[in-house]
């Protein structure tokens, strides 16, 4: 049993509140640092990919989970971040500066794409972003001088102060560091003024405006930050794949990102990461299972996409709060063990709400 007991206002805002939290996250960090020497090479690569996808998923979570704006085109931001980074590296810009510039440039593009979001929302916004991602894919394919077109482009080695970070372990740590920094930045942003405004816009725009929240500004801002973070993920992805082609940034990637966010659990950064873990490791799990499956099922074309779809459907039906919801239930079971009530998480009845003020 554990009862929250605050002795100051700052207690309630602490990220790691109890000694057990410090211990748990310390162990996690230690394991992640030790991982490249423990795990086989293949899995180090998979973990690196997982970190990159976590960054992208965090970016999308900010948009969908916190401000309630739907985007089916985030693969385009991954692509833009990736190509800008490769282009800058090719022109002799140092690694860190190039990473930041890729993020900033993508944020700028996100700002422009976010402008229609002031007027449209929901499915309409999803269509706008979807169209945008198709356009970006085609532009990258045709703009041969800069992007290498559909044939692709080799990514320069990542050099930091003369050290080559292109090796598997080095890249692993680069991605881990970026992930931790992005996570900390977003956690801080979301526990303060801006994060509250984001959730306010998601829950009730009418009330948000009556309290002085400039909804249009915050929506576009959320779009820009989300795009920027996703762009950084794209830049890292370039080093992971080492050879970039526009096909890698198609609708499937957008869809995967949306699934990470939804399966992870909307409105939680932990969910974004859990979702990224789930979706990135699913193909690995499927290919590991293939030999055991009957050949008629195991050799089916499109088995992965089928499983993806099935998982999404199952989650929406049985656990709309996603993996994070599952996590919270487990945690409250262990925290309040003898007194745990199953109905704590039952969704309350939503009272009549008007949409008249939109």
């Amino acid at each position: 049993m554990r009862f929250p007991y605050d002795t100051s206002y700052r207690d309630s805002r602490k990220l790691l509140r109890y000694r057990s939290d410090w211990l748990a996250y310390g162990i996690l960090l230690a394991l992640l640092i030790a991982a490249p020497w423990i795990l086989p090479r293949f899995y180090v690569g998979e973990l690196t990919y997982l970190f990159i996808m976590s960054v992208a998923s965090l970016g999308l979570m900010l948009l969908i989970g916190f401000t309630g704006q739907l985007s089916f085109g985030h693969a385009a931001f991954v692509a833009i971040g990736c190509y800008v980074h490769v282009w800058l590296l090719g022109h002799g810009v140092p690694l860190v500066a190039s990473l930041l510039c890729a993020g900033l440039f993508t944020a700028l593009v996100g700002l422009l794409i976010g402008l229609p979001a002031i007027r449209v929302s929901g499915l309409h916004l999803a269509m706008v972003t979807l169209a945008f991602s198709i356009i970006v894919e085609q532009v990258i394919g045709r703009w041969k001088d800069v992007t290498g077109g559909f044939t692709g482009l080799t990514v320069p080695r990542p050099l930091l102060f003369g050290f080559d970070l292109g090796g598997q372990r080095q890249l692993y740590f680069l991605c881990l560091v970026v992930l931790v920094l992005v996570l900390l930045a977003l956690v801080n942003l979301l526990r303060g003024h801006t994060g509250r405004a984001f959730t306010a816009i998601r829950d009730s725009e009418a009330a948000a405006q009556s309290l002085g929240i400039w909804t249009a500004g915050y929506k576009v801002f959320a779009f820009a930050i989300s795009a920027g973070v996703t762009g950084v993920a794209g830049a890292l992805l370039a080093h992971h794949v080492q050879y970039v082609t526009p096909e890698g940034f198609g609708l499937l990637l957008s869809l995967e990102l949306v699934m990470m966010v939804v399966i992870g659990g909307l409105g939680s950064l932990r969910g974004a990461i859990l979702g990224a873990i789930f979706i990135s490791l699913l193909p690995v799990a499927i290919s590991a299972l293939k030999p055991i499956l009957p050949t008629r099922i195991g050799s089916q074309f499109g088995l992965e996409i089928f499983v993806f779809g099935l998982m999404l459907a199952l989650f929406i039906l049985f656990e709309p709060a996603g993996l994070n919801g599952r996590w919270r239930k487990l945690k409250s079971l262990t925290d309040y063990f003898p007194l745990y009530r199953k109905d704590t998480f039952r969704r309350g009845k939503t009272y009549m709400r008007s949409e008249r003020y939109r």
């Binding site: 929250p4 206002y9 700052r10 309630s12 805002r13 930045a185 801080n188 942003l189 526990r191 303060g192 003024h193 801006t194 509250r196 405004a197 959730t199 306010a200 998601r202 829950d203 009730s204 009418a206 009330a207 948000a208 405006q209 009556s210 309290l211 002085g212 929240i213 400039w214 909804t215 409105g267 969704r347 309350g348 939503t350 009272y351 009549m352 709400r353 008007s354 003020y357």
Partner: protein, 252 residues
């Protein structure tokens, strides 16, 4: 020269006249009630004041400054806060976060400061928290401080919405049917709270309300509307006895 004035206000949606040539004045520190049958245009008046709608004619003045052209999110900066008829709370957030959102108009540090969680940001957060706690004490909400709004009963939600409006430190508070859906006991509490808001906090209150016992208890003056027009204005007893008001409510 009055504290708050609505002058010759008209609001038309195509052929529908929601408000017709309405004028009234509110003195600083009074509780002013707007009553009238359903569809009389009471909430529309609130929506014009808070800039949800732009009036077809007329203007709204606060301390002799025209607020009819303000953007919607700037109204609160002038010290006008409101509640909604059908509660518009931030469902997934806790009561405390709802109150802190009420304080959105007070800055809590730059974006970069927030990302770095700088000491200045933390101090601003502490200050807002302390202010929010004052209101939690005032409205007896402390048992629900960390409860998500989605799991609160209706009566408490109404109070949370009132608390959130108060958190923005308004000088003029617009309450849209604060007692609707409350049980008699909660309505009595509400009457005390409105009294406190008027007398201790010195906030001017305009409220739309159907519950005449509450209006009789707390309101200094009443405006009765019907079909977007003024039927009667004045002290409660006078308006209640006015033949047009009786006719509008009971039919002729």
């Amino acid at each position: 020269m009055s504290y708050f004035a609505v002058e010759n206000l008209s609001l038309r949606f195509g052929g529908l006249h929601a408000i017709r040539n309405l004028s009234f004045e509110v003195e600083q520190g009074e509780v002013f009630a707007i009553i009238g049958p359903n569809g009389a245009g009471k909430t529309s008046v609130f929506n014009v004041i808070t800039r949800v709608f732009t009036p077809s004619e007329g203007r709204v003045l606060l301390r002799d400054r025209d607020i009819t052209t303000l953007p919607r999110h700037r109204v609160v900066e002038r010290g006008i806060a409101r509640t909604f008829q059908n509660i518009e709370l931030f469902e997934s957030a806790t009561v405390l976060d709802n109150l802190l959102l009420g304080r959105h108009r007070f800055r809590h540090g730059s974006v970069l400061g927030q990302v770095l969680w700088s000491p200045a940001v933390q101090r601003a957060e502490d200050h807002s928290r302390a202010k929010a706690e004052d209101i939690i004490d005032l409205l007896d909400l402390s048992p629900y401080r960390n409860t998500p709004v989605a799991s609160l009963p209706y009566g408490i939600r109404k109070m949370v919405e009132l608390a959130r409006a108060l958190a923005s430190e308004p000088e003029l508070l617009l309450l849209d049917e604060p007692a609707s859906g409350l049980n008699p006991e909660e309505t009595r509490d509400l009457a005390f709270f409105i009294d406190d808001i008027q007398n201790d906090l010195g906030i001017t209150v305009i409220m739309v309300e159907h519950d005449m016992s509450l209006v009789g208890e707390v309101a200094d003056r009443v405006l009765c509307m019907n079909m977007g027009e003024q039927l009667a204005i004045g002290p409660v007893a006078e308006v209640r006895a006015h033949p047009d008001v009786v006719a509008a409510y009971l039919g002729t």
